[in-house]
């Protein structure tokens, strides 16, 4: 087990690499970004102003240093279109995305853990096959098709839920399912295979031999141990929810950071694109690291030592 300081340093290096990569994305724009944003017939003065706003009038290394100087102060630059700080735009849109991601996460916990436990328990029988089929379908349906499909069924055919937006009651339901299904499917698989791996361990035989009921063996001994890899995967997916929310938000016109990103791409508002991508990637890294720490805390083998 590495020390906490080592892990922190490790995380910092990754964060540094991620932000450098996002910074370099701007270099990928073919041709002159100013032409791309303003069009070729723009006035010379406007072009100079835009060049300064994007920082293109400075050498790359200096821009890189400035990028970091701003970043550590939480400054992600200003939107070219809305003339507002990017960080402020993200802060405005973040609550809607977090609401959606939290709802999807709860959905995953409520479906994947029970389904995975049942599948492992009834291995090879029909509940297992059912859970496996659910997992396979869930993994294979892309959310940009699942969303319209759910709208077709529940909003149009049955008229139970609103089609889009986040203002009416019940409007959270379809986006949550759209965002959460594939994650629930992956997690179900993970819980199942993790439990089956634990199944072969001698300490479960011991627990059975001392006369514990099957339910007690499952809940008290197998599940806590099986949860370790699951927590790590959940951490991986928690950040993944932010990325998955990009498409889900577009499908349902959900006013979160995902639709902010896609709108910014359409408007060639590069600072906003950079800012949102950076924000999502950094959150993802931090969520993973938090999950690793959490998994270490919950590890029954480690817990006993304290």
């Amino acid at each position: 087990m590495r020390s906490l300081a080592e892990q922190m340093l490790d995380t910092l290096i990754v964060l540094f690499g991620v932000s450098t990569l996002v910074f370099l994305l701007l270099v990928l724009i073919p041709g002159d970004p100013v032409d791309v944003v303003l069009g070729e017939s723009a006035q010379a003065a406007d072009r100079e102003a835009m060049r300064a706003a994007l920082g293109l009038d400075r050498p790359l290394l200096e821009r890189w240093a400035l990028f970091y100087a701003d970043l550590v102060r939480g400054d992600l630059g200003d939107s070219l279109v809305r003339r507002q700080p990017v960080a402020g735009l993200i802060a405005q849109r973040l609550p809607a995305t977090l609401q959606l991601a939290a709802a999807a996460f709860v959905l995953v916990l409520l479906t994947a853990v029970p389904l995975g436990v049942i599948a492992a328990w009834q291995r090879g029988r029909w509940p297992d096959h059912l859970a496996q089929t659910f997992a396979l379908i869930g993994v294979s349906i892309p959310n940009f098709w699942l969303g319209p499909l759910l709208v077709l069924l529940f909003s149009i055919a049955l008229a139970w839920t609103p089609v889009s937006g986040n203002l009416e009651p019940g409007s959270l339901v379809l986006p949550t399912v759209t965002l959460g299904l594939s994650m629930a499917a992956i997690t179900t698989r993970m819980v199942r295979s993790s439990l089956l791996e634990i199944e072969a361990q001698p300490f479960l035989r011991t627990a059975r031999c001392k006369g514990l009921s099957e339910a007690a063996v499952m809940l008290r001994h197998a599940l806590p141990n099986a949860m370790l890899p699951v927590i790590t995967v959940l951490g991986l997916q928690l950040g993944g929810l932010l990325a998955g929310a990009v498409i889900t938000e577009v499908v349902f016109a959900w006013p979160g950071i995902g639709s902010l990103l896609v709108d910014a791409i359409a408007q060639r508002d590069y600072p906003v694109v950079q800012g949102v991508v950076l924000f999502i990637a950094l959150s993802y890294v931090l969520a993973n690291r938090a999950a690793d720490l959490l998994a270490a805390r919950f590890d029954p083998r480690i817990r006993g030592d304290r």
Binding site: V18, T20, L28, P142, A243, A281
Partner: protein
């Protein structure tokens, strides 16, 4: 397994049919808009009167082309990088591992979306965006295996015989690491199909009037009330292909996994 192969074969046939010159995928016909499926138009027509079946076939060509190119590019680059990292170890390995870690820090399609946003849409750019994200999986896979293989006797023997590093990597290490690479590639195929469709759905991939499954879903969503078949047809085909490629990967993995084979 047999079903997956059948579906993947059908995808190939559709892609070939998508190249037929007799297709009407781009013929706008205003009197024929939003026709329901019928004998003349098996899958109906879209908002511009174009036959959905023809566009579906044309989209199959695009998705197959993008998926195969993306997977080949990613695999070749990833394998090469993984081999170098695992074989040379030390500082090279540490540097490459860091880079891999940074690329893995972008969840799902985020990096591809960001790349596509910067370099612009179009088939070539979609492939570039997807491959720049896809190589990481192969690199990680190959690196870990090579790390454990490079002190094996046959590699040391080859070294003692004075074989070059390149020859050792190619002749003595590469063949041993290919099994999981094939598994990764078939999952990668599924992922590339979804990612291409996803980018096109967001308007960052294949541009109209070119047909792509994701673009068809994007356009169809606007007419969900009047013509649900515009969304259903490409979605069902897309899911079948993805499902088949995933199943194929599962089957391949079980087949390569000797321990699971012997217990059956």
């Amino acid at each position: 397994m047999r079903m997956s192969v059948l579906i993947l074969g059908a995808w190939l046939l559709m892609a070939l049919a998508g190249q037929l010159p007799s297709l009407d995928a781009y013929r706008v016909s205003m009197p024929e808009i939003f026709l329901a499926p019928s004998w003349t138009h098996w899958l109906g027509t879209d908002e511009l009167g174009r036959p959905v079946l023809d566009r579906l076939l044309s989209g199959a060509s695009v998705s197959l082309l993008v998926a195969l190119t993306t997977v080949s590019l990613s695999a070749v680059a990833g394998i090469a990088i993984g081999l170098v990292a695992g074989y040379f170890g030390g500082l090279t390995d540490r540097l490459i591992s860091r880079v891999i870690e940074v690329f893995l820090a972008f969840p799902g399609m985020l990096l591809a979306i960001a790349m596509a946003a910067m370099i612009g849409p179009g088939i070539d750019n979609v492939i570039i965006a997807l491959a720049s994200m896809g190589w990481v999986g192969y690199a990680r896979l190959v690196r870990v295996q090579v790390l454990s293989l490079r002190r094996r006797d046959h590699v040391l023997a080859a070294l003692a015989l004075g074989r070059s590093d390149l020859a050792i990597m190619r002749r003595h290490l590469l063949p041993l690491v290919m099994a999981p690479v094939w598994v990764e590639a078939s999952f990668g195929l599924a992922a590339a199909v979804v990612a291409e469709a996803g980018l096109s759905f967001l308007g960052l991939g294949i541009q109209p009037p070119d047909a792509s499954w994701g673009g068809m879903i994007r356009d169809g969503v606007r007419y969900l009330l009047v013509a649900p078949h515009l969304v259903l047809a490409p979605g069902i085909v897309l899911c079948m292909v993805v499902l088949a490629a995933n199943r194929f990967g599962d089957a391949l993995r079980d087949w390569f996994d000797v321990t699971s084979r012997s217990t059956r």
